[in-house]
Each structure stands twice: as structure tokens, then as C-alpha cells.
Amino acid sequence: MNKKTTSKIPKKVWLLISLAVALVLWTLLSINPKTARSFPNIVKVIKAISTMINRGVFWEDISSSLISVTAGFAIGFILSLPTAILMAWYLPVRNIIEPWIQFIRNIPPLAYVPLIVLSAGVGRKPQIIVITIATFLIMTVTIYQGVLNVDETLIKAARVLGATDKDIFLKVIAPATLPFIITAIRLGSSTALTTLIAAESTGAVAGLGMRIRSLNNSFESEPMLLYIIIIGIIGMLVEKFVKYIERRFTGWQEKRDA
């Protein structure tokens, strides 16, 4: 196919083609005896929905995970905003906090989960704490970079037009940082999801991550794959939502990618 004909195909159709390719691959993997145990047949996986509903855990797992993810993400975001601004503005704050953020950021959350359980006990609390830590770190770094990157000449331009420090913060730095805040939200929400397994290894009684681990013990690969796909779908929906917010609020941005 040359470029002309490929560019004529609408995006929706490409999506369908991509989905079809994935389904074919999946089917091939489910036929191949070497991979069949990890990739059960599509129909069986879809049937697993009703199995899990009948067991009375399906909706509870989804809602439990969503609660933990949302709460952890929200607290992480609320904490990261002022931390990032303080780091960008005050050198002592930056010099003290930054090394620790970089240090902790590279440790997989699963590693420090047991320590958190020791103090916070089991249940909802440690789950939220783990997600809060992970999202706080990534969002702080991103927003901090954004505040640092505010174009100096914009601040100068505002100042010569009579802006006070408060005007500069509210009318220049805040809107100029908005794209980075949205990027932080995107990274934070995806981090929240990828931390789910670690977060729910804290003795959770329900949740997508906790269930995947417990299904692993009984070798039930159909519902396991189903749950993995559900996490993926949630991630995609969140991404779509963030994209919408981005278009809505930062449409004024110059295109960075060619």
C-alpha cells in the first residue's frame, strides 16, 4: 500500500484493524500449546465475566480498586502541587527534597509495601498510602519541571506591564504550568494503575490486583486475563479523559511534535 491509500483510511477503521490483528494474535497464542495456558480462548475469557459475577466479587473488585486508585491519586495530586511549587521557588526546599524524591522514585513500590503494612495495618489504608506515594513522586517531579520551565521573558513581560508577584503567580505561572499539570495527571493516573498490584498486596479483601494474585494460586487463567484486560481498559478510558481535558484547557499551546 502506498502512502496515499493508507492515509485515506479513517482513524476508526484503523482502530478496528488494530483490534482484529490483536484478536488474531490472541487466537494463535491460545492455539499454540506452548502459550495456551497463559492465553486462554477469547470466548472462555469473556465467559469468565459471568463466573466472577456469580462468585459475587466482580463488581466489588472493580469498585474497590477504583476507590483506592482515585483516593491515592487525589491525595498524591493535592500534595504534589504545593511541594512542586515550593521546590521550584525555594532553593533550600529543592536541595533538601529533590535527592530523596529521585531516590525513592526508582524503588519499586512492591519493595516497601511490607514496611507500610507494619505501620498502617491491612485494609484500605495501606493501599491508598502506596498509591499516594507513587503518584506523589511522579507528579511532583513533573509539575516542578513545569514551574521551572516557565518562560522567563513572559514573567518579565508581565512585570513591565505592572504585575505584582501575586499577579505573576496567578496570571502567568499558573496558566503556563497548566500543560505540565495535565501531563502530571496523565502520568500520575497511569502510575496509580500500575501500582495497583503492589498496593493490593497489603492484605486487601477485594480489588483487581488482589484478585489476580489469588487467582494465580488456583491457576485460573481465564479470569486472570480478564482482569488484566479490565485494568488496561480502565487505563485507556482515563487516558481518553485526560486527553479531552488537555484539548479543552490547553488548546492554546504551540504544537511541539511535528
Partner: protein, 263 residues
């Protein structure tokens, strides 16, 4: 301008600026003194790095001199003030604001709001001929249009002195001449005191009543050349013998400095 009472608008009094860079102290300006008269159009030329922007930023109040003082209307300058407007080379438009909002920014800060601010802003948007683009965002404008918006934004708060730091430096030749012509027309009408930095010698001569040649390392005023070509000046002025003579002289001086810097 015989017989006209000339008043000093901005006095630059023995200004020195030292930067503390990575390689120790760096003297960017060393003992610069200059009187900018009211209604005067001054252009500053000199090789890059000779301290032109530093001087402009000090006049604007965005930088503090290491020693020496700036006076505006006899009063010592401390920090920025809306009586000194600035146009930057990089346009510095707020990308999240439309053309109208950008031009209204300074007015709003002055406490002028709503319809009144809009009317004033529209007047200057018309001055730069962008009335068809009031609701556009900067990303939708060409470089020349962006700089027009920046000029309108600076004019809108009605400064007494306009400080321009290579405002047309990033534009193509054609747009540049067009904006030069427009700026000249505006200046001839309003006679707002202008302090205009450029590295383009032709641009300096066509615009200014006085061209300041700066020397590098450390930045000093090397020579002040009076441009006694009567206004209105047009692009044809660039062909006249007196223009060419001035151009030769100034260009020679700047080139000499350029060679100095390269050493």
C-alpha cells in the same frame, strides 16, 4: 528641531554591571552614561554580547546596576514601572490569551476593566492592523503579527518611554521593513521616546535621530552619531548618499568591534 525645548527623559548615569558567572566576574557594562531626550528616537548598535540587552533591562528596572543610577523624569528608577514599556525580541505574548486579552493584560492590572479596557485595547489593535485577529491565539499568528501584538500591548498602557530589544530581529527582511515603516509612522504621530536596540545598521539609521555605537568587553559607548536625515523617512531614504555615508561609517565602527569580540 531648532527652538524646541528638549528635556532629559531618561538619564543613564555612570552605569556599571558586573555578572557573577561560572568563570568569575564578568563586566558587562562599564561606566555607561547617556541622556535620552524626551520624544527622541535612539537606536543602539553593537556586536552581540556587548551589553545592549543588559543596558535595556537596567533601564526597564528588570536588572539592578552594580553601580550607577537611572533616572526617569529626574526620579531614580527602582524596579519596573508602566511608564517604561518594553518590547522583547521573543514577542513574549501570553500563549493562553487571545490577541485582545494580551493587549488588555496591562490595562487590567492598572484597574481598567471591561468595556473600557476593551475599547482602549481595540484602538491599539487597530493601530497595528490586527482587528481581524482579536480572538486569535498567538500560535495562529505569524512572527510579524505576534510582534505587532506585542507592540500594541506595550502601547496600550500608554508608557512614556518605549524600550525595544531587537524587536524585528527574528523577522524576515520583508516583514521587517514593513514593521519599520509602521513604527516610524506611529512615532512621527506620537513622538514617544524610543530606545531601540538592533544589530541591523540600516534599521538603526532609518529609524533613529541618534545612533549609539557600543563597544564590547566591557560594554561602553564608543560613539554617538547624529542622524540628521529629515522625517518622514521611507525605504527610498536608504538610497540617498547621506544615508549610505552614515551606513558606511557606522558599519565600519561596528565591524571593528565585531573583530575585537572575535579575538
Amino acid at each position: 528641531m531648532a527652538g524646541e525645548e528638549r528635556r532629559v527623559k531618561v538619564k543613564i548615569d555612570n552605569v556599571k554591571k558586573i555578572f557573577n558567572g561560572r568563570n568569575g566576574e564578568m563586566i558587562a557594562l562599564n561606566g555607561v552614561s547617556l541622556d535620552i531626550m524626551e520624544n527622541e528616537f535612539i537606536c543602539v548598535v553593537g556586536p552581540s554580547g556587548c551589553g545592549k540587552s543588559t543596558l535595556l533591562n537596567i533601564i526597564a528596572g528588570l536588572l539592578e546596576p552594580t553601580s550607577g543610577k537611572i533616572y526617569c523624569d529626574g526620579k531614580e528608577v527602582v524596579g519596573t514601572g508602566t511608564e517604561r514599556g518594553v518590547v522583547f525580541q521573543q514577542y513574549a505574548l501570553f500563549p493562553w490569551m487571545t490577541v485582545l486579552k494580551n493587549v488588555m493584560f496591562g490595562l487590567n492590572l492598572k484597574g481598567i476593566k471591561g468595556k473600557e479596557a476593551e475599547e482602549i485595547a481595540m484602538k491599539y489593535i487597530k493601530m497595528v492592523q490586527l482587528e481581524d485577529f482579536v480572538n486569535h491565539y498567538p500560535k495562529e499568528l505569524s512572527g510579524g503579527m505576534k510582534q505587532r501584538v506585542a507592540i500594541a500591548r506595550a502601547y496600550a498602557v500608554n508608557p512614556e518611554v518605549l524600550l525595544m530589544d531587537e524587536p524585528f530581529g527574528a523577522l524576515d527582511a520583508q516583514t521587517r521593513t514593513q514593521l519599520q515603516t509602521e513604527l516610524l509612522e506611529t512615532w512621527e504621530k506620537e513622538r514617544k521616546t524610543c530606545f531601540f536596540i538592533t544589530h541591523d545598521v540600516e534599521e538603526a539609521i532609518i529609524l533613529a535621530q541618534k545612533v549609539i555605537i557600543m563597544s564590547a568587553r566591557p560594554g561602553r559607548i564608543k560613539e554617538i552619531v547624529d542622524i540628521n536625515i529629515p522625517y518622514p523617512r521611507t525605504q527610498e531614504t536608504k538610497m540617498t548618499p547621506e544615508f549610505l555615508e552614515l551606513k558606511n561609517h557606522i558599519w565600519g565602527q561596528v565591524y571593528q568591534e565585531y573583530l575585537e569580540v572575535r579575538k
